[in-house]
């Protein structure tokens, strides 16, 4: 279990310098991961305010104005179903990313690169799906404050996916160039030689080689969890009042 935590980059976030950083002036690995953590914290708070706007406006639902009657019949289960699809693809992408992290931890670099590429592809599909959902709902952004709130919640996911795709593209390109391996391992020769001689390689890659993957992993997991939160919001606070 602790090995999984380590592989996913969650160990030592709030702890003092790791062993690897003892001789360095600054624990660069922890610094980058902590910075990403604080960025995500700020992003979460902004998301809370968007969620809060949704709940606030729904709470003021009087005289059928939250979802006006001409729009109510267009809602159906559209938003919930669409959000479920988006959530599913995002979660799949996050799971594949974590598999890739595990592969990197185990130094199976070809699988790591492939998994990252698949995760990136899933995130691209998710981005496209989210844009499609926004553009093809049966209501318009001007159709009441539910439509407005749903659009901003979905649009925020577009922002997450866009940034996530950019970061993921960097991971894939850099992984393909071998930048997440120790220099001596970049040709894969050490692995082949060690296997041929029946010996084990030295300890796993240093935190330095995992820093970017871990930090960007935090963001990808958060983006997936955000889509889950939106889906849960639509279940807990559905567009239409109870009984309608």
């Amino acid at each position: 279990m602790m090995e999984l935590v380590d592989a996913l980059g969650f160990r030592g976030l709030f702890a003092p310098k790791s062993d690897a950083a003892e001789h360095a002036e600054v624990d660069e690995d922890r610094k980058v991961r902590l910075g990403m953590f604080f960025y995500i914290a700020a992003d979460v708070i902004l998301a809370i305010f968007f969620f809060g706007s949704y709940i606030f406006l729904r709470g003021y639902n009087t005289n059928d104005r939250w979802v006006p009657p001409p729009v109510a019949h267009k809602i159906g289960s559209g938003p919930l179903a669409a959000t479920a699809w988006v959530m599913g693809i995002a979660l799949a992408g996050a799971i594949v990313y974590s598999v890739g992290q595990w592969a990197h931890h185990k130094r199976i670099y070809a699988f790591f690169t492939g998994a990252m590429a698949v995760a990136l592809a899933l995130y691209l599909v998710d981005l496209a799906a989210q844009i499609y959902v926004i553009a093809h709902q049966r209501f318009d952004v001007t159709d009441g404050s539910f439509a407005s709130a749903f659009t901003v919640l979905s649009g925020y996911h577009v922002y997450h996916m866009t940034l996530g795709v950019f970061l993921g593209l960097g991971i894939v390109v850099r992984a393909a160039r071998g930048l997440y391996r120790r220099p001596a391992e970049r040709g894969g020769h050490q692995q082949h030689a060690a296997a041929a001689e029946g010996r084990e390689l030295p300890a796993a890659t240093t935190p330095h080689h995992r820093t970017g993957i871990s930090a960007i992993g935090y963001y990808w997991y958060y983006a997936a969890l955000y889509s889950v939160a939106v889906w849960l919001l639509l279940i807990i606070q559905p567009p239409l009042p109870l009984g309608k």
Partner: protein
């Protein structure tokens, strides 16, 4: 200027022929020049492309303007080179921790031109922030002079009422933005990494990005008068925010960019303080200035998200006809019932707005607490309680915002809770005052200009704070809400905490940033003229408020004529007094008396470095061995001894005879 070190024997390129073109291109790209050019290109490209698709009728014009601003920001960032490195990272060209690349981006050989670049050196960014803050202060002050000129007499409006309302809106938000950047920007950037024994901020390129976003946000904000103005007041409430002229787009977008810049800077500073402290720099040895900035940046990273949400929703209402805040969609041929609530904008705004004033005040507390032991030659009294006070203010500031909504018509039973929390926040504030006064008590006082501003802070913030307690009481607030009493209150607290502390900080750290003293005579002239005219101007406002004069009015009853005329005259004098400060900064920077590395004989780490401070701050990272406020005690040593700097510098020319 401080912070630049050249390798010994560095060759200077000659500028003839092909070498000359290369050299010209080297200085030009990337720089602020190319940033401005591409900003124009981006703006026109964004608005032209949008206009082709949506047209330029009344409400589509908002879309065109907003997308144009997006293009402006992107063009600016591309032009200054801010996006080059992320793209290099994506394609695996740049290594994030490449020392050679990091040094190149500090432009050590470019002289003064390095301040017109995407410079990642925190010292250069601190200077850039100082210049930006001085510019914002000048423009905000000019707007104030225009407001007072319009209010000289009843019926003496020089501009139309819409323009007057725009002046008020711009002055308010611009000065608020100036005040929360004034100390954190220049001094948080320049001083904090050195103070904690680090070579730079945690994320130097993010630091540079923050400044470049801040300046473009201010520029967009200043577009307002040219595109129709904003008549909402600084609070930018819906529904007026949805309906005001095109200037509302510039207001919303500009403020959004400024807030994003501040949030990114806050994340950077928080990470820096947590992860980059020198060995031996435990939390209990951390200078109180760092604690104050840390508290302020925790507020920045969290509270600015609230106004960001409000501004995004307002821009969507304005440009895309959503209905967050309106019951009907404006400019639609057939209005639809939308279910929006204007009150939501007040809630979102003030959830930001109140932490925001502590975001302004906390750096001021930090500066005053930092300076007072140096010029009292005494240990900081109740360091621990002062830190608790700072963190207590940080925490409680999220629980008091409802006092801005006492007369908004919301649930009356909520008023009592917010009255209680608002009065409660005066307790941790009192801890800060206790620390200052306890340090002054029986201290060996050195009445220098920075110390004078500490006394001014005590006097001014005390008046502002006590009037705040009156306003926190619901019955008093019902009478005083929305009138000149409130204006007087917040000018006393904001100027008292932030602006006076800013002057103290500039005077205190000027020798380290520039290698020169600020002129003492001009400093004292500035101090006394500001104190006299500030108190005359805003003291009158208290009386005007008690007499019932409402705020934000372009005209008023003749019974207030004498008070308003006097206030305007004193305000003009205050403006003149501020010119003395600007003149002092410019003159001292160019011709001021040279200062040594530690003219104040202070013990924090930034004063143990040479002046100018080297690019990497320290040859080797110091090991901190003691608390930084052991003035006048047997353990009177600096916090650490840095290689190449005398541990106990000789007394400076401005220092009276005094103890350790």
């Amino acid at each position: 200027m401080s912070g630049r070190s050249e390798p010994a024997g560095a060759a200077v390129e000659t500028g003839t022929g092909f070498q000359g073109i290369n050299r010209f291109w080297y200085y030009l790209w990337p720089s602020h020049v190319t940033g401005v050019v591409l900003a124009f290109v981006g703006y026109y490209a964004g608005s032209a492309i949008t206009g082709m698709f949506v047209g330029t009728d009344d409400y589509h014009g908002d879309q065109t303007l907003l997308i144009g601003f997006v293009g402006l920001v992107l063009g600016w960032l591309i032009g200054v080179g801010a996006l080059t490195l992320p793209l290099q990272w994506v394609f695996g060209v740049a290594e994030p921790n490449n020392r050679h690349e990091q040094e190149r981006l500090t432009y050590p050989r470019d002289g003064w031109w390095r301040y017109f670049r995407f410079n990642t050196d925190h010292k250069a960014i601190g200077i850039q922030y100082l210049l930006l803050v001085l510019g914002m202060l000048a423009i905000g002050g000019l707007l104030a002079m225009l407001i007072r000129a319009n209010l000289m007499h009843p019926g003496s409006l020089l501009v139309g009422t819409d323009t007057y309302n725009t002046l008020v809106s711009m002055h308010g938000m611009l000065m608020i933005s100036t005040m929360f950047t004034a100390i954190v920007g220049p001094f948080g950037n320049f001083v904090i990494p050195i103070m904690i024994g680090a070579r730079d901020m945690a994320f130097p390129r993010l630091n540079a990005l923050s400044w470049h976003l801040a300046i473009v946000g201010v520029v967009i904000f200043l577009f307002q008068p040219f595109v129709g103005g904003t008549q909402t007041g600084w609070t930018f409430y819906a529904p007026l925010a949805d309906q005001t002229g095109r200037g509302g787009d510039a207001f919303a977008f500009g403020v959004l960019v400024i807030m994003v810049s501040s949030a990114l800077a806050a994340i950077n500073i928080i990470t820096t303080v947590i992860t980059m402290r020198a060995p031996g720099m435990t939390w209990t040895r951390l200078p109180v200035f760092v604690w104050g900035i840390l508290g302020a940046n925790i507020l920045t990273a969290t509270a600015t998200t609230s106004i960001n949400a409000a501004l995004i929703e307002i821009m969507l209402d304005r440009g895309w006809q959503t209905t967050f805040f309106l019951n009907t969609a404006p400019n639609q041929a057939t209005p639809v019932t939308g279910g929006g609530q204007a009150f939501l904008s007040e809630v979102l705004f003030w959830f930001f707005g109140h932490p925001e004033v502590y975001l302004i005040a906390l750096p001021g507390f930090a500066v005053v607490l930092e300076i007072v032991p140096v010029f009292s030659r005494k240990p900081l009294y109740t360091y621990g309680l002062s830190v608790i006070g700072i963190m207590g203010v940080t925490a409680i500031s999220f629980m008091v915002w409802g006092h801005h909504l006492f007369v908004s018509g919301w649930e009356q039973q909520l008023r009592g809770f917010y009255m209680g929390t608002t009065e409660l926040i005066s307790i941790p504030t009192g801890f800060v005052f206790l620390g200052i006064l306890g340090t002054l008590w029986r201290g060996n006082l050195w009445m220098s200009v920075p110390m004078a501003w500490v006394f001014a802070f005590l006097w001014t913030f005390l008046i502002g704070g006590i009037t705040g307690v009156y306003l926190s009481d619901v019955p008093a607030d019902i009478q005083l809400h929305g009138n000149y009493f409130v204006i007087a209150h917040f000018h006393y607290v904001i100027l008292g905490s932030a602006l006076w502390a800013f002057f103290a900080a500039v005077t205190y750290w000027f020798p380290k940033m520039t290698g020169r003293y600020m002129d003492e005579r001009l400093g004292w002239i500035h101090f006394w003229t500001v104190q006299v005219f500030f108190n005359m101007t805003f003291g009158i406002f208290f009386w005007l408020g008690l007499e019932g004069l409402p705020r934000r009015v372009a005209d008023y009853s003749s019974k207030f004529d004498l008070g308003m005329s006097l206030a305007s005259i004193f305000a003009f004098c205050l403006g003149g007094a501020m010119l003395v400060f600007f003149a002092n900064v410019v003159w001292s920077w160019l011709y001021g008396e040279k200062a040594g590395p530690n003219p104040w004989r202070a013990k924090t780490l930034e004063w143990q470095t040479p002046t100018p401070v080297p690019i990497e701050n320290f040859e080797t990272i110091p090991v901190v061995t003691t608390w930084p406020y052991n003035y006048g005690t047997a353990e009177a040593e600096p916090q650490a001894t840095v290689a190449g700097v005398t541990a106990e510098p000789a007394m400076g020319p401005h220092e009276p005879t005094m103890g350790p």
